[in-house]
């Protein structure tokens, strides 16, 4: 079950209001996305924790209606 790019962006923006977010639809099928998120919420956290925060913001969609979301997360320099 694909998810619209605008919806995905909105969900991420809700979860990370301060963040710089860029979402790309990699395959054009609404099912394979890449998200680059730069947020102060990630500061000092290992990558696993950073990605877990993103998955938490997605509220269970990851692995379900969202099949593939490549993540690149970082804190602002």
């Amino acid at each position: 079950m694909p998810i619209a790019q605008a919806d995905l962006e909105a969900i991420l923006r809700d979860g990370f209001p301060d963040a710089e977010i860029k979402v790309d639809d990699l395959a054009g099928d609404g099912d394979h996305y890449r998200a680059r998120i730069v947020s102060s919420a990630f500061k000092g956290l290992p990558r696993v924790r950073q990605h877990q925060l993103v998955y938490a913001a997605l509220k269970g969609r990851m692995g379900g209606e969202l099949h593939a979301l490549a993540l690149e997360t970082s804190a602002p320099a």
Binding site: R47, V48, H51, Y55, G60, G63, A68, A70
Partner: protein, 114 residues
């Protein structure tokens, strides 16, 4: 991670597996024949670095497929464990490989001949 290890038999199996083997990849398919592009990528990276690892096919068992996600609080597969610790999924492993962190990490853990 370990706080989720309770009376759940699948979690016990996972904990035992990652304790007994220094490098474990929970994946879709087997290392010789991955059944998902993301699992294949991690296998390729580990093979390229010459890391000895045990592949566990989560497709063989639905309980394992779900259990690995709750064990690590991580919703996707593949999942790489080194010395019992969850290292990451495909994105993290690839990022660590590309920026040159993965090889020294595996060497430090003593799971790769330096």
């Amino acid at each position: 991670m370990t706080e989720t290890v309770t009376a759940n038999p699948v979690h016990e199996f996972i904990a035992k597996t990652v304790e007994e083997h220094p490098v474990v990849l929970f994946m879709k398919g087997v290392p010789e024949q991955p059944q998902c592009g993301f699992s294949a990528q991690v296998v390729q990276i580990l093979d390229h670095l010459g890391a000895d690892f045990v592949g566990v096919n989560v497709l063989q068992n639905d309980q394992l497929r779900d259990g690995i996600k709750t064990y690590s609080d991580w919703p996707t597969i593949p999942q790489l464990y080194v010395k019992g610790e969850f290292v990451g999924g495909c994105d993290i492993v690839r990022e660590m490989f590309q920026n040159g962190e993965l090889k020294p990490f595996l060497e430090e853990q003593g799971v790769l001949a330096a």
